[in-house]
Symmetry: C2
Subunit: 222 residues, 2 copies
């Protein structure tokens, strides 16, 4: 079976990809370059695609910065040292990002005949992001069943989101069992000039807390 | 009220935009450049956006050709003189195209606070395209209600698809009542070197039949 993997090069998408690989699926990686201010994420995606033996890896530019609206696409400051239990939607939220990513993956899945889209969303990542919830994923699968030739012909596509119900620590423990090398990955929203993690953005802090709770050192900061 | 208009520069999206303008909405036009082999469509979109007084017009590159799979993105020959009542899905079908377009429009709608996305899909255009059906549009609205900050906060976005149930002739009659200048538009999948319509692709033939049934001359070929 073939699967299109949405791969950012972060901890979550890398672990989701490792789980898909354990299923022996042929992996087609899609990295969407949506206007990030840095390229460290892209370099990490390439390392992971190579390490996990992807059949193909496509990097696609989609300039979401043309719409504005998120600090992740360079229109405002990345928030630092924000309370991790803050339930409001943070400025790093990119409008409709997962919908755009899943739609592109759907197009490629249809072309190559893939029956799965792999995405590393999880409940913790939610922290205010509406498009990281189980009911959202289910709604996308329903849309996909109506949207495509494959769906119309009775070959519905499934979204494989194996991290949906896991904590960050749970994801890391799982990844380590699967042999994931987290030194390959990148999580920071606002890396230092040398490419290293800032340590203060939401993503760095969720990652640090995850490794701490998992009781293992993060190879990126150890 | 604000509306994001998916504008290809063709007959349908132009008529849908004219209907949105009659509603006195502020129009934000989005033209997705998804790997068409020609730029005549883009030039038409610019003319229409200007003629209809759009507040803003964004042209966004999304290289769907990286996935292959459609004669519209340059991977095979455009079919000519195909039977118009052929119910099979034609090679001009671009996988997940409308899903990608609607997702991008959703992102922009969220940023500018638009409550409508305008799309010129219609039942006749369907001719085998799964993502041009009423149940598909309804599924996208449901997804949008779960996908976005606006949806979560109780400001659901609606997809305005006013041509859904109209024939091509009905669309043309309606557009003429609204004062649409169809000389500005472009429909051909495979234009001649001078930019003129080929007259033989599905799109040219559906357009010609529409004008004929509407009993008016097409300014592009008259």
């Amino acid at each position: 079976m073939k699967a299109v993997v949405l791969l950012s090069g972060g901890l979550d998408s890398t672990t989701a990809a490792a789980m898909a690989r354990r299923e022996k699926w042929e992996l087609y990686g899609l990295t969407v370059k949506y206007g990030q201010v840095h390229s460290a994420e892209l370099a990490a995606a390439r390392r992971v695609a190579s390490a996990l033996g992807f059949v193909k890896h496509v990097e696609m530019d989609v300039n979401l910065a043309a719409f504005g609206g998120s600090s992740l696409v360079g229109t405002s400051e990345i928030p630092k040292d924000r309370a991790l239990d803050d339930a409001s939607i943070p400025s790093t939220y990119v409008p409709a990002r997962n919908t755009v990513f899943l739609s592109l993956a759907l197009g490629w899945a249809e072309v190559v005949g893939a029956e799965r889209i792999v995405i590393g969303v999880n409940a913790l990542d939610y922290s205010g992001y509406p498009d990281c919830r189980p009911e959202y994923i289910a709604a996308f699968e329903y849309l996909a069943s109506l949207a495509t030739k494959a769906g119309v012909e009775g070959r519905p596509l499934r979204v494989y989101a194996p991290l949906l119900q896991l904590s960050k620590a749970g994801i890391i423990r799982l990844g380590i069992e699967l042999g994931v090398d987290y030194a390959l990955t990148h999580s920071c929203y606002d890396p230092r000039p040398d490419g290293g993690p800032c340590g203060h953005c939401d993503s760095c802090r969720l990652r640090a807390r995850g490794f701490e709770e998992a009781g293992v050192p993060d190879p990126l900061t150890a």
